[in-house]
């Protein structure tokens, strides 16, 4: 296919604004799949995978479009993960595009993720086609959305497509707009190969499968290639496009997008954003923007029962085959024993991984409260990264500490301004912008310490605005901060897994609150349990859980001994899920008690 017949684009949207439905409709409208097959694909995806031998990512597809103008076009619709945790991956996918479809819900207007995604698209100078979706709904207000687009986002909106993906409204018009308003790729097919690797996943039949866009030059089966970031060489075994059925081709020319299989065994060898070139005639300038993604949020993962340690280690090993952005290293906690310190791109990513470990690998996990990475700068100028509060111990000659900040965007009905200003003040936020998007809808922008977000910010935000606020953030920078380590002692013994780093101004309230929450969550035991919150040797708060004095059933249920035993067995199962720290039995939830503090007690 000639370059001027190709259109490479992504769909970007706030969650639930209709991105997937629109993608499905485009696949249907271009005949990529028939309606019946789309259903089959969902239902039988496992079988399909086996049959074709590769995993299909349904949303990154090559579609054939026959325009009423007589021309024939190849659309490469490139999937993006959309969530803030995966911003870097999104930006690499967008780097493979010349345009985006910016989908906005006609009933809700612009939301936080709309802005975050649009900012990324603008950084790449992409053509933007605004799509105002769900115009069929009675509460749709497309004119107001147009105004928001123009006034707030400076996006030309007079020729926005009015659509209802669900009802098939505006789809034909949209496809014509893609042809007319998104430019074809440019790139010299005769130059040395320069190819963007923008997605990769592990397939148990074929090894690593990567998605690439050829920016310059051309790529053919049998070529010896070099992945420039990792310096690894491979030979191209198979090239193809997903229609969404996999269709093999012999080569890609500049501007084309597709999958590549090259006998790559480990996901780790394929870095998102890397440049693929020929071994024999490499390009002299790799594509810009490559970076090694670093985990932002860390948490300790421990097996509830010690004999599951090996199982957890194997599970992490397998899981990282599929998700190279999770980092893990063995660590030992005096309270919890052997486990792993794991790094994640963000909170959602952490949730996903934790759930997969429990569901797919059947490991019962105890998770410590998440922490961000802090920097300690010593008097000699050495920079030490702290991904676990207990690593602060033993560092001498500390000159200063720094904590990561993010830029957070909140969009919500104006009646909640007061509540949100209160919340962000408590979270040490600095307001940098306030703007009305429409009468009654306001946008607030803050610089916030990332650790304040990690500790339950999102749920607080939602509950403070009855679910109406949308929130997004991006990493800003590290800033010097007055930070201290808050420790928890149970019966005088420090429980390292409960330590956390927080700002000095907040430590007193947080310590008191945390001690109280722990008192609620640790069940009474046969002896008194004293909870202390301390900074260094200074005790900030003390709570006492009184010893259990009487716990005896008067009756043994007549002769129904089975019932009594089953009752005890159930209790015992609950007890086994607790961690014994010293003599004290602590339920899992207690290790996350800090997430339920409000620092106001």
């Amino acid at each position: 296919m000639k370059q001027n017949q190709i259109r490479n684009f992504s769909i970007i949207a706030h969650i639930d604004h209709g991105k997937s439905t629109l993608a499905d409709k485009l696949i249907l409208a271009t005949g990529g799949l028939e309606k019946r097959q789309m259903k089959d694909q969902v239902l039988d995806s496992m079988d399909l995978e086996r049959e074709r031998g590769i995993t299909i990512k349904a949303q990154t597809v090559n579609l054939r479009y026959k325009s009423p103008n007589g021309g024939e076009y190849g659309f490469n619709m490139i999937d993006t993960p959309g969530h803030v945790d995966f911003t870097y991956e999104v930006s690499r996918s967008l780097a493979a595009c010349e345009g985006v479809l910016l989908v906005v819900d006609a009933t809700q207007g612009i939301q936080a993720q709309t802005i975050a995604n649009l900012n990324l698209a603008m950084k790449h100078n992409l053509s933007i086609i605004p799509v105002i979706n769900k115009v069929d709904l009675p509460s749709a207000n497309p004119d107001s959305v147009k105004e928001q687009l123009e006034d707030v986002l400076q996006v030309e909106a007079h020729d926005a497509i009015l659509a209802s993906a669900k009802e098939g409204i505006g789809i034909d018009e949209l496809m014509e707009a893609i042809v007319e308003r998104i430019p074809p790729p440019v790139g010299d097919a005769d130059k040395p190969l320069k190819c963007l690797l923008f997605d990769a996943w592990y397939d148990s039949y074929r090894g690593v499968i990567v998605l690439v866009k050829v920016v310059e030059g051309s790529l053919a089966v049998g070529d010896a290639i070099l992945l420039m970031a990792t310096g690894r060489n491979f030979v191209v075994e198979e090239l193809g496009i997903l229609t969404p059925r996999a269709k093999q081709v012999t080569s890609f020319k500049a501007g084309e997008v597709g999958y590549m299989i090259a006998n790559i065994k480990e996901l780790d060898q394929t870095k998102i954003g890397d440049t693929v070139t020929h071994v024999a005639q490499p390009t002299d300038a790799p594509l810009p923007g490559y970076k090694d993604v670093k985990p932002m949020v860390f948490s300790g993962l421990y097996p509830i029962s010690g004999d599951q340690y090996e199982l957890l280690r194997d599970a992490l090993k397998k899981l990282t085959l599929n998700d190279a952005s999770v980092s893990y290293e063995a660590e030992t906690s005096s309270a919890l024993g052997f486990g792993f310190r794991c790094g994640f791109l963000g909170l959602l990513h952490m949730e996903i991984v934790r759930e997969r470990l429990e569901r797919e690998y059947n490991v019962e996990l105890l998770t410590t409260a998440p922490t961000v990475v802090y920097k300690v700068i010593t008097t000699s100028g050495e920079v030490i990264h702290i991904d676990n509060p207990s690593k602060l111990k033993g560092i001498k000659n500390v000159d200063r500490m720094e904590e990561p900040y993010v830029r957070g965007t909140i969009i919500m009905p104006e009646e909640y301004i007061g509540a949100i200003m209160g919340l962000t003040r408590d979270r040490r936020g600095i307001q940098t912008k306030m703007e009305y998007l429409a009468p009654g809808t306001v946008l607030l922008e803050y610089h916030l310490p990332f650790n304040e977000i990690v500790l339950d910010f999102y749920d607080r935000l939602k509950s403070n605005t009855r679910g109406y606020a949308s929130f997004d953030y991006e990493f800003l920078d590290f800033r010097a901060s007055n930070l201290v380590k808050l420790d928890i002692l149970l019966n005088g013994e420090l429980v390292d897994a409960l330590s956390l780093i927080c700002h000095k101004d907040k430590v007193y309230f947080l310590g008191r609150d945390l001690a109280k929450k722990l008192k609620e969550q640790i069940p009474r035991q046969m002896y008194e349990v004293v909870i202390q919150a301390a900074v260094g040797t200074k005790v900030l708060a003390r709570e006492t859980i009184k010893a259990l004095r009487k716990n005896v059933l008067a009756k043994c249920y007549g002769g129904d001994i089975t019932r009594k035993r089953k009752l005890l067995e159930k209790q015992k199962a609950g007890k086994k899920k607790m961690k014994q720290v010293g003599k004290v039995e602590i339920p899992q939830e207690a290790f996350l008690a800090v997430l339920r503090t409000d620092g106001k007690s």
């Binding site: 046969m526 002896y527 259990l548 004095r549 009487k550 716990n551 005896v552 059933l553 008067a554 009756k555 043994c556 007549g558 002769g559 129904d560 001994i561 089975t562 009594k564 035993r565 005890l568 067995e569 209790q571 015992k572 007890k575």
Partner: protein, 379 residues
Amino acid sequence: MKSIGLYIHIPYCLHKCGYCDFNSHAVDPAEMERFVPALLSEIDHGATRIGEEREVATVFIGGGTPTTLPPQALETLLSHLRQRFRLAGDAEITLETNPATLAPGLFERLREAGVNRLSVGIQSFDAGELKLLERVHSVAEAHETVKAAQAAGFYNLSMDLMFALPGQTARRFRKHLETALALRPEHLSTYNLTIEKNTAFYNMHRRGQLAMAAEEEQLAQYQETLGVMAGAGYEHYEISNFCRPGRECRHNLIYWNNGEHLGLGPGASSYLGGVRSRNCKLPARYIREVNATGRAIEFEETLKPREAMGETLMLGLRLLKGIAIDAFEARFKTSFREVYGKTLDGLLDQNLIQLDDNRIALSPKGLFLADSVILEFIT
């Protein structure tokens, strides 16, 4: 010759009390007429389950309230039992009753039919407390019932009392104990009120309409009970049970020693040859099933060794003298220390159990925390 205990469940009461989660149902004369023949059939079937050479050492007719049945029916039941089972010459034959079913001549007829032990559900000697508990008898009827039983020749009589009732104090409960002791029972059971699921009290408690006594108050009343009963010369032999020397409830000792028993009647449980089973609970269904098949078992499980061991401790530790370790080892053909060594060390460390050469028992401290101690032996 191995002996066993026999339990007969009569599932009817004049009224279902608010705290009660036992298998009891409001009296229904028409159904009760069909119930008695069904029970007799199940007795026939039950006799074949244990074989002829086994002797029945104890019989316990419980409920419900067995005396909701006409005296005639109880007489038939007892004579039928004698026909079908080999009752030991000194068999303990207990019958539960409550003061609301007192009738002239009743106790004489029961005595005549062979009942030699009565267990009377008194619960309280305070009119207000009886009302709260939804008991349908008066304080006067409680006194009359005990006196009538003694006059009829019952010299092995037990009373039930409940403590830690909402608003009750240790002083008030002490008075109830003293009133009970003045009636000179051979045996006394004192039960701490507990809130069980599927009871009226449970729902009231959840709605905040019923306040449970605080833990400290429960403890105080229990300790008060121990003091009063010891002062009166009663032996504290099980967590909730006291007796004059030699007057333990032999039938319940079979349970606590994890011995074999056969249960007949709706919801009754059996433990025979390492298998625990339980009958269906609803009287109407019980009658239907017995009439069709001779039996009404709805649940059965064969215990794994470790489960049987756990049960032995769960039950045996309720006895103040605890468990004989040599008997345990002979029964399970294993070393007690080997199975529970680590658990024992932890409990000894916290002073919750006493361990001598051949017995394990709760310590005075462990007595109040028996459930937590027992939990340690459950897997």
